[in-house]
Symmetry: C2
Subunit: 406 residues, 2 copies
Amino acid sequence: MHKETETRKRKSQLSPISQIVPVTFKYPVHFTHGLFKSGHLLLSSLLKQTKELSPKKLLCIVDAEVARLHPTLCAEMESYWLPHQEKVTLVRKPWIMAGGEACKNDTERVSHLHRAVHDFAMDRHSYILVVGGGALIDMVGYAAATAHRGIRLIRVPSTVLAQCDAALSVKNSINAFGKKNFLGTFTAPFAVLCDLDLLTTLDNRDWRSGVSECIKVALLQDASFFATIESLCEPLTSRNLTIMSRVIERGAQLHLHHIATSGDPFEMGSSRPLDFGHWSAHKLEQLSNYRIRHGEAVAIGLALDATYSHLLGKLPQSSWERIIHVLSELGFALFVPELESHLAERNHPDCLFRGLDEFREHLGGQLTVMLLEEIGRGIEVHEIDEALMKKSITTLKRRHRCTESS
Amino acid sequence: MHKETETRKRKSQLSPISQIVPVTFKYPVHFTHGLFKSGHLLLSSLLKQTKELSPKKLLCIVDAEVARLHPTLCAEMESYWLPHQEKVTLVRKPWIMAGGEACKNDTERVSHLHRAVHDFAMDRHSYILVVGGGALIDMVGYAAATAHRGIRLIRVPSTVLAQCDAALSVKNSINAFGKKNFLGTFTAPFAVLCDLDLLTTLDNRDWRSGVSECIKVALLQDASFFATIESLCEPLTSRNLTIMSRVIERGAQLHLHHIATSGDPFEMGSSRPLDFGHWSAHKLEQLSNYRIRHGEAVAIGLALDATYSHLLGKLPQSSWERIIHVLSELGFALFVPELESHLAERNHPDCLFRGLDEFREHLGGQLTVMLLEEIGRGIEVHEIDEALMKKSITTLKRRHRCTESS
């Protein structure tokens, strides 16, 4: 018996079971107008695809800012479903919730949503539809992903940023312990429906700020898309919706293509190419107590890492100038005082460079930062020369002063 | 411009982006002895595979019951890592936590784990290792899956049930609002390491109860495995570890194969074949306030649905008798008073048949229950005749009385 156990021991240790579980996530991304206008077929046909007998439950959540700017929206959302009652049941009136980054700081919100799923006896084939900016979509997405291990989530992003970037991902999150996106999951949405009409009421800051994510993806992957954006600065700043739609759709396409083909959509490795410019952006948002919006912070982050790439001798001068120029033309401020936060005190929690540590920690493993070799071509590095990064900040500051005094 | 917008509208609505994201999850499942004995290479080699520079952080959590029954285990876990300090850092002494179903009822526990991940600055490449039963593994797994969108989880299941079933899955969960597994995610572990020595100290109920999940998977998929279990009742009840290991490994193999090849490991459809017998099992656990353990409840659930399958004319008499016989031989009680809970009051929350509703709600969509056509072959149905189910309960009760009086 002892011998048998010994043989068995060796055998067990030599032949483990290598479990391999392939999963394919699929979701459509649509760009449209007037999504909730009666007779618009997109949403109703999406929910009617499934062949079940009883009506599906649907909980709608609307960003308070969107509801304020589109005062008829909630009523439209209710009457939209009237002709489809045999297929879809609204479990309550559209639920208006405050959005913005602050909504991600409150775990109570997630609990309220969980309780609603329980109270309305929603199941894994029910739907939560959220209309709003990236922050509300992130928070609601986290609640939806964790209730019953995943209620179907329909994202209706209402900002440029969310339509071209935030709402397309396979992620969700809330903040905790002062760390951005500390809690979250990788979960694909059921569908992403971008209603371009929602963009018409954005204030100028939100209209502009999402374009920075399109510039980011252009800088990494598509020089000709960057050139297109360069040529469209005027119509973009003068709020031409058709032009903006075109930019958003191309940005979304590139972003989605990257998620699908990166080989690591659930970020199990240490690399996250699409986070170009984001180590400082996340820190700037936090340091400014979210006065600086995500897209604005990304614009600064892009300018900073492009400048660093240039000073490092990787990015040619002319390309660097084009990048700074297009960001400025679109109206982004490329220097803020937070860039100089506690630079000399490396251990101060508000030191900008702590953003590098937090960036590494969130992703795990070795520090991996994307820089630029050329417009349309990124390159990963595993080290940042903080003296040179300080020089990059000084460069942006000097340039900012010149622009202000000119 | 209006025309352009119209064209654009139609165009956008006609050509959505169909996003397809393939992800492959891989994890090894090992069966071994003396996992934490110094010099055992399995764990250290698993954590050394990665080629990173700084030591990986590791947080170990141990089920209080396991720590009590294996009083040297925690010290062994600490000294195990001494020769590997350049690769692995224990962030603290092994953290002893109460396990059992009750640990899944307390969301505070999850918060404590999140705070530890924050306090120890653990990242997505850090490890949480949990030694314990299925409930503790579920709860710790939920915390690990949601911190930084996923800390690597090493499961070291300490019970028969967890080694052949619970710890192998791509799921985790806690209970909420009185609903079992209401919160959770689909997340693959980093590795599952089954230390068979941990089984030696189980009490007889826990030793026996996990076998019911092996019987379940045999009934659904492998008649010859069922016959093997039938032939091994004596050594199993007399606590032969080698025989038990063989049964666990085969059960685990079948279970893992099903997860990998079912085509729906993240349960996006309405079918969950491996939940044969589970609609009543979950309800019986709850109705008995968890006096009935999961494996015991599954044994009753299998007996009940096998009886129903037989009375429905699907499962031959002789096969039904073999099933009832093997469960009885192993020492399972196949009738408990909770089976008759409020059967006549369909809307009473404690009515056993509410288990059908809750089962459907958890998975979503149409009710889908697995029955048996033959040993080794399941069949899905979408309706349960509750009168016939009552008769099945009566059959089990009568049989139970006869056994008691004989």
